[in-house]
Structure formats: C-alpha cells, structure tokens
C-alpha cells in the first residue's frame, strides 16, 4: 500500500466526488437542454463549478475563528449591499435583485442567506445560557432576520426572503429557545396569512392562487406548473432517454435550464434519475448534519446546522415547486440549475461547513 501523504488525506475527496457527481449530472441535463450542445450553459456552468469548488476548499481551510470574528461585519456589509440594490440596482426579471459590479452581477440576497446564519450563530454563541429563555434571546435575532427579509421582500423576492427566514428560525430553534415560542409564532403566522397575502404583489398573489388551483389557468400563470408536471409525469420510470425530452426541447417547459431543470432531467431520466439525485442530496445533507452534530464549538454547531437548512431549503422548495406542491417562487435547484449566484451560495455554505469539520478534527472538542 502506498502511504497517502497527510496533505492529500486532508482534502475531502468523498465530498468533492459527491459535489462533482451532482454537478456533472446537472451538466448533462444542461447539455441536453441546449439541444445537445455545451454552449451556452453546460460549459460555463462546468468552469464555474471548478472555480467555486476551489473557492470552497479554500474557505474550508480558513480557521473557524475567522468566521466567528467577522460574522457581524459580514452581516452588516451584506445588509448595506441589499440597501444598495434598492438604491442603485437595475430592474432585472421584473424585480430588483442584481448589483452590477462590472465583472459580475452580484445578488446580495444570496449572500445574506449565509450571512444571517453566521450572524445568528455568533449571537447565540455569545448569549449567556441563562438568557436563553428571556426576551434578550429573541428580539435581537428577530431584528437581524427582519431587516434583510424586509429588504429582500422589497425587491421583491419572496423565495429568498423565505429562505433567509427559514435559516434564521432554524438557528434560533437549535439555539434552544423555548418551544412554545415557535408554536405560538406558527399559530400567529397562520392566523395572519390572509393579511400577509394582501401585502404580496399582484403577480405573487396570482402565483399562490394558481398553485392552489393550477387547472384554473393552464395557458396563463398555471402554465409553468402544468408543463413541469407534464414533463416529470411523461418521463415515467426510465425517462424518455438522453436528448429525447420533448417538453424541454420544444420549449413547452419554461425555464427548463434554471428553476425547472429538475423537470428537464426527470423527463429524460425518469424516476430513476430523480431518486438518484435525491439520494445524492441526501448524502450531502447527511454529511453536513453530521458535521453539525460533531462540531467542536457552539458556533460551529449552529453554523453547520443553519447552512444545512439553507441548502435544504433551496432543494425542498425547488422540488416542491416543480412537482406542483408549492407556488412558483423562483428558487433554483442547488448545483443543478444554471446560474452563478445560487452556486456561489451553495459552495460558500459547503466551504464554511468544511471549515467547521476541519475545526472539529484538528482541535479537541469544546462545546463552551
């Protein structure tokens, strides 16, 4: 047996293989969605993945302390960027989300998904245990979640706002806040749904209504969901075969390379492809959950678990959307959908979780 040098051993090969498998599968689908061509999507997505993967590995080598120290600063910086989007951002896709930095269209709301987790994790790490059941544990967190969520809603981007809230609430939940807070908040939320609904934009309201009754408008706003279900349903168990998806190739499926890429995949690869993809994501989330459970510090625990939730939220909402279980909210499928912003977020999450993992491997366990 050839002795493996420790430097090579420290590289998380299994994780790289898993991420590459998911993304590689995505590249195949993008190749097909482009009508059997590497351009315009697959090639660019592949290059992007390699760069972001290297970035994630670098993030994973950084000491966890660094993240903890810069959590608030990072959070404030991203919040300022969100305000900047409101002030300077230009209208793209019907809502203001992008900040043109010249070389890159930056979507600060994506960064906020990570920043909110780090900031809350830091907050609860610093919070004295005795204060866990007091309001001191509650209101700063609510403000920290509320400001970016409100800013993102203004863009308006319901999906990302929900993602920020979900990750934030999960961190609060894991921090040990009393259960009845969450229970009563859920009840109050349910009661105020109709009021919240009235605050939504017309097109968002329409999406929700269409989601509740997609058949009501099969050619209009319900078109996305109907066509997506047709694509998935017509794929059957084994799919129509690579490059043979008619729904995507004949443009019936809208956004077949971004938000609805799962439908494009399912049409050609069928249930087998879908279950394989779900299994791959399961492996990814299992790894990150384990990292959270074995984290050496409280900051590491909360960060890893919160970021796991961020990844999961992408995945669950996107899949529910393409299968007609959630309204069309414009959330991409992690690593699979074409697009830089979501991949940047996911790979940042992965990088930070790697940092938590290496922190717990290199030092002795210390939970306080």
């Amino acid at each position: 047996m050839i002795p493996v040098p420790p430097a090579v051993q420290r590289i998380p090969w299994k994780l790289i293989a898993l991420l590459s498998a998911i993304t590689g599968f995505g590249l195949l689908v993008l190749y097909s969605a482009a009508g059997g061509s590497l351009s315009p999507w697959a090639w660019q997505q592949g290059v992007r993945f390699v760069i972001f993967l290297i970035g994630a590995l670098i993030l994973g080598r950084l000491p966890l302390r660094l993240y903890e120290d810069f959590a608030y600063i990072g959070y404030i910086g991203v919040a300022i960027l969100l305000v900047a989007v409101e002030l300077l951002g230009f209208v793209g896709g019907g809502s203001q989300r992008w900040l043109n930095l010249g070389f890159l269209n930056l979507q600060p709301s994506e960064l906020m998904k990570v920043a909110i987790v780090l900031a809350l994790a830091h907050f609860y790490t610093q919070l004295p245990p005795g204060n866990t059941r007091t309001l001191t544990a509650l209101w700063p967190a609510l403000v920290m979640i509320g400001i970016p969520a409100a800013l993102v809603m203004l863009q308006p981007d319901l999906g990302t706002a929900l993602a920020i809230c979900a990750s934030g609430v999960v961190v609060m939940f894991l921090a040990g806040l009393p259960l009845w807070w969450f229970g009563s908040a859920a009840l109050a939320g349910a009661a105020s749904l109709p009021i919240l609904f009235s605050f939504l934009h017309d097109y968002q309201q329409k999406r929700v209504l269409i989601f509740l009754d997609p058949e009501s408008d099969p050619l209009g706003a319900g078109y996305h969901i109907s066509q997506s279900k047709i694509a998935i349903g017509s794929g059957g168990i084994g799919g129509k075969g690579f490059l043979n998806g008619s729904q995507s190739h004949l443009d019936y499926l809208p956004e077949g390379h971004t938000d609805f890429i799962f439908a494009t995949m399912a049409e050609e690869w069928g249930l087998i492809g879908g279950v394989a993809l779900l299994f791959a994501f399961f492996l990814l989330l299992r790894w990150s959950t384990r990292v959270a459970l074995h984290a050496r510090t409280r900051f590491g625990q909360l960060t890893a678990a919160g970021l796991t939730m961020t990844i999961f939220f992408y995945l669950a909402i996107n899949l529910m959307m393409v299968m007609g279980l959630a309204p069309v909210v414009g959330i991409p499928l992690p690593l699979f959908s074409y697009g830089g912003s979501s991949m940047l977020t996911i790979m940042t999450c992965v990088g930070i979780i790697l940092a938590v993992e290496s922190d717990s491997k290199t030092r002795s366990r210390r939970l306080y």
């Binding site: 921090a175 349903g233 017509s234 059957g236 729904q247 249930l271 459970l293 678990a305 939970l367």
Partner: protein, 634 residues
C-alpha cells in the same frame, strides 16, 4: 402560573442542540421521502395521462379536407368537379404580432373591411392550431406575393387546396345545388373538427346536399412536431385524404347545358325524360344562380341581386314551381274519357264555347263538329267541357293520378311541391263545399284548382308516350314499371292527337322538327294568370301575362324522349314553349343543327348565360351603388 424550569447550563444547551438537530434532520429526511413519493406518483401512477399531454403538446395534427367526389352525367362528363384553389390561412397560435401581420395581409391581398372584421372575429373564436381562413381562391400572383414575404409574416399559412367547380355554371344550379362552408349549427350537430377546417365545404342544397355522405370523402391528416412557439420542427407523417365517391347521374350534360341556354332570358323550367327508363336527361330551372359563386362564398351584393330579380333565380321551378297546366292535360282527359266508355269517334259541335246553365264557358275558337283527336289537335275547350260535364271530374282525376300528376316522386335531392289534382272529396275536405259542374269544366282544361309542377308534366308525357308507369330518376335507382291500364287503341288516340298538334293543323304547327324521318308529338297549354275572365293575358305587364306550356315526345312512331317546357308569362304554349321544346328535341337528334339555331338566338339575347349574368350583375351593382334603395333590376 409559573412552571419551574430546569437550570440552563452549557451542557443542557448542547443536549438540546443535538436533540433538535436530529428533529430537523428527521424532518428534512421526511420531506425528502415525501418528495420522492410525489415524484413516483406523478411519473408512475399518472404517467399515462402526462404522456398523452406531452404528446398533444408535441404533435400538432392538421386535418386536410378531403377532395369532394365528382358528380358526373350519364356519359361520365363532369357536372361538378374540383379545381385547384390557392388559399391563405392564419394559424392563431403562431400569430405573434397580429395587427402588423393583418395590416400587411390587408394591403397584399386587398382585403375589404368586411373581410377584416370576419378575420378578427374568427381569430377571437379560434384556438390553438385551428387555422382561420383569410382568403380563398387567391390568384397565383397574390399567392406568390404572400409566399415570398412569409418570413415576415409569422402565423400565415398559404395552402394549396381544392374548390368545387361547376363547369356549366348556372345551367346546373338547381339540379346540383351548391356547397358552402359549414355554419355554426351544422358544426354543433356534426361535432366534427373537419367542419371548422378552412377549405372544407359541405353540400348545402340539391344533389350536393342529398349525396353529401357519398361525396364527402375522408379527410387526410398531417402530423407535425411543433415547438411551443409554433415552429414546425419536422413532419412526422402525412395521411392522404380519400376522395369522395363519384355520383353518376342520368343527366346528359350536353343536353342539360343546351336546354338551359335555350331557355334564354325567359323564366321557366324544362324536363327531358327517357321514355324507356324514366331517366331524367335534362332538369332545367331558369334563370338560375351560378353555383360556383355560392361555393366560393357568395357576396352580399350578388345575393341581393339574385333576390331582387323578379324572375326568381333562387327558386327551383322544375319541382317547386306550380302552374295551372292548362290544355296540356287534354290528352290525359281524353284517355280518362275513353276509359269511361267514351267513343273517340263520337263528335261534338263547338260553337265557340259551352253553355252550362246560365254560364257560357268560352272556347278559343269555333271548331265545328269534331272528334276526340281533332279536339286535341285544335285544343278545343268546348269538346272537353262537354266531356267534363258528362263524366264529372271524379272520373278524370284517377287517370290524372295514374299518369303521375299530384304525386310526390322519390327523387334524389329534390324538394318537390306536388300540386293538386282536385276531386269532390278534396274540395269538401279543403273548402267544405260541394263539387260543382263548373269546377269539372275548369279542371278538365287544366285550370281552376288544378296545379302541377313541370316535372309532373314531363312524367305524364313520358307515361302517355310509353304506356308504362315510368318513374323519374336522377340516379340508377330501380323502379318497377307496369303497363298503364289503357288499351293500345286508347293510347294511340291520345298520341295521334298530339301528333296532329305539331304535324297536323294543330296549335304547334310552327314547331315541327326539322327532320323528314323524326316527328314530334305534343300539346300546348296556356295557363291564365289573371283568371279566366279578366285581362287578355297576351301583353301588358310581364307578371300578368299567361304562362306558356308545352309537353311533347319524340320520335312519334317510337317514343324515346318525353319533355315538358314551362315558360312563365310566355303568353301561350305555342308561342313561347313549343319552339324551345322543338330545339331541345332537335339537339337530341342533330346537335349541329340545334346549336346553329341556338347561336342565332343567343346573338339576339346578348350572349351566353354567363355573359348575360355578368353584365346584368355589373349593371345592377352600378345601379345599386347610385341608388340608395336597390330594388328590382332593369
């Protein structure tokens, strides 16, 4: 009430984290399993449904209207066939910039406001790939001009189809009928997507309607793979249409056209029947409409022109026109009388009329002492008044019915009004009054209550000529023919009388056939329009003039063809109807001779039917344009 909480320590916090993280992880796993189940449900349980929907997305089926079956005459010559027709359609789903495209089309094809409105309306009602017709029968040049601009006209589909064509135009209008695009009710009834396919026509009238199931054919289909934006990716397959079956008529197309043209500017009908089989060789009702115009979708103004014409071109006078048959019933009355024991040699003296009680029924002449044959020859009313008074009409009516009068025939595609052969029971039923002797006198000379259509007169003639119960037919349909219950001698009296009408000193002496060896037998009739006593009927306002009728058969010695001719307001059978019959018979035996005669006439009338109709229509349109209230033409 405050519940005691356990003290919060770092260790408790760690434990809580682990517990709650496991709950979260479990919830995530549950969601994952639910998603997998949902996907399995969609793709396995609902698979059939979604495969179907995906296919209906992908594949677009366009119906190709079938070519209509031909209608041909007894020699296989086309009375109705199909010609290539170029058309422009719109596929609504592919029309992205409607206003711009329609504006381009409007200038390219010179569409008028009405058409634009109709297109807009159709587009609103249409869905998906169901094409909407823009214009049918575009010229080669217009078609080409659209074709070259096609890249700038998304959603426009030029197509090469077929249109119904009637080579002899108006000559077959009332015989064949016409086709037209199905209307909303017809589509509702048939529920056939073919009915809303542009270019598909159904029979609307006459034989076209009657033989619709035979003529229709089976549509073809074109399956193409299309993108969501309507771009055709490739043709999947094309199923050719199956042309409708050919309908063979008993009509002789040349004779039909000749007879129609020979009617000239008159209004009336003419029927020629083969005395051996009952085959209808010519079936004319003039003036007529041009079925080509109807089949292409007649314009409002052309329809108004047809309606405004006092010669009523929209009415099929051959089976729907009822006329008092006048003296044409005299041979029939003679047969009836002989059947009731009247000796044809018995003489009656005509003193210029017949006295019945205080009334004097006039004859057209003073014929002296005459027998039955002479009475037919001279069309002596007095003689028949005498017979009618002696026998009563109840004795005559059965013979009239035996010869086909008052009967509705089983005839393909015709809508018949079958008239009246009155008798005492009929009058009692209808008017509640007793039959009188004067009713018999009026009826026996074909006036009064008696009404018949031209087809019935032709059938009567064919039956007298053949001695058989012939039934008229337009297709090869089997009828049992029986001998009529008249003796050969009785029939010969009637036929000989009719021979003398033409070849003796009779009323149609000027209409002898121009042959040495072929002679025509016939009988003229003049039906008074105003009633027996009033007016002269020989001049004045056209619509108050007498109808001219003629029945005849030829050759006399071996009857082959029987005919009836009715000329509305023609002022007498010998003057208006007999010459027409003469030329039509001439055509049957010598076409060149007959054509020569016709060409002379047409020179005087102002050209062929089509030329005259086109000119009349143009004149009417010009008149209608200046006249805010378009009324009667000319």
């Amino acid at each position: 009430m405050k519940r005691r909480q356990p003290p919060i320590t770092e260790a408790w916090r760690g434990l809580t984290f682990t517990r709650r993280a496991l709950v979260i992880g479990g919830a995530q796993a549950a969601v994952g399993v639910a998603l997998a189940a949902r996907m399995a449900y969609i793709s396995v349980v609902d698979n059939d449904r979604y495969v179907l929907e995906s296919e209906s997305n992908r594949v677009n089926l366009t119906l190709v209207p079938p070519r209509r079956g031909w209608i041909v005459d007894r020699h296989g010559k086309a009375l109705a066939n199909n010609r290539v027709s170029l058309r422009i359609d719109i596929i609504p789903d592919r029309l992205h910039d409607k206003d711009a495209v329609l504006a381009r089309l409007r200038t390219l094809l010179r569409l008028d406001g009405d058409t634009m409105e109709r297109i807009e309306r159709d587009l609103k009602a249409a869905s998906g790939f169901q094409p909407v017709a823009v214009k049918e029968d575009v010229s080669e040049a217009d078609y080409a001009s659209v074709l070259v601009r096609l890249p700038d006209l998304p959603g426009i589909a030029p197509a090469r189809g077929f249109a119904r064509n009637y080579p002899t135009g108006a000559a077959v209008g009332h015989l064949i009928g016409y086709v037209g695009a199905p209307n909303a009710e017809e589509y509702e009834k048939a529920k056939d997507p073919l009915y809303i396919t542009p270019g598909f026509k159904i029979g609307k009238d006459g034989l076209e309607k009657y033989f619709e199931p035979m003529l229709k054919g089976k549509p073809g289909a074109r399956r193409v793979e299309v993108t969501a934006r309507g771009k055709i990716v490739r043709d999947l397959n094309t199923k050719p249409d199956v042309q409708g079956k050919t309908v063979h008529l008993t009509i002789d197309a040349d004779l039909q056209e000749y007879a129609a043209r020979r009617m000239g500017r008159e209004s009336g009908a003419a029927i020629v029947i083969d005395c051996l089989s009952g085959d209808i060789l010519a079936f004319i009702a003039m003036p007529s409409f041009d079925p080509n115009s109807f089949s292409d979708g007649i314009s409002n103004s052309e329809y108004a022109w047809l309606r405004a014409n006092d010669h009523q071109p929209l009415i099929n006078k051959a089976t729907r026109g009822l006329y008092p048959p006048g003296s044409t019933l005299k041979p029939m009355a003679a047969l009836a009388a002989m059947q009731h024991g009247v000796d044809p040699g018995e003489r009656h003296t005509c003193i210029g009329g017949y006295r019945l009680g205080s009334r004097f029924f006039r004859c057209l002449g003073t014929h002296g002492t005459i027998d039955m044959q002479t009475a037919i020859e001279k069309s002596c009313n007095s003689y028949f008044y005498w017979l009618g008074h002696r026998l009563g009409y109840d004795a005559i009516a059965p013979a009239a019915r035996l010869l086909g009068l008052g009967e509705e025939y089983k005839l393909a595609g015709s809508n018949q009004r079958y008239g009246t052969i009155p008798d005492s029971a009929w009058k009692l039923r209808k008017y509640g009054r007793e039959w009188s002797a004067s009713d018999s006198l009026n009826a026996i000379i074909g006036q009064g209550y008696v009404l018949a259509n031209p087809l019935q007169l032709a059938v009567m003639t064919a039956r007298i000529a053949s001695g058989q119960t012939l039934y008229p037919r337009l297709i090869n349909r089997h009828f049992e023919h029986h001998a009529l219950p008249f003796t050969a001698e009785q029939l010969e009296v009637a036929r000989r009388g009719m021979w003398r009408v033409v070849n003796g000193a009779g009323t149609a002496g000027r209409s002898r056939l121009p042959f040495d060896d072929i002679q025509m037998a016939g009988k003229t009739g003049t039906a008074q329009v105003r009633g027996l006593s009033g007016g002269s009927g020989k001049g004045g306002d056209w619509k108050y003039r007498d109808h001219g009728l003629f029945i005849g058969f030829a050759p006399y010695d071996n009857p082959r063809y029987a005919m009836s001719v009715v000329i509305e307001h023609g002022m007498g059978g010998s003057r208006a109807a007999a010459p027409v019959a003469k030329d039509i018979f001439t055509f049957l035996f010598d076409r060149d001779k007959a054509m020569k005669a016709l060409e002379e006439f047409e020179g005087g009338w102002g050209g062929t039917i089509k030329e005259r109709m086109d000119r009349d229509y143009a004149a009417w349109k010009a008149g209608a344009a200046s006249d805010p209230e378009p009324g009667v033409p000319r």
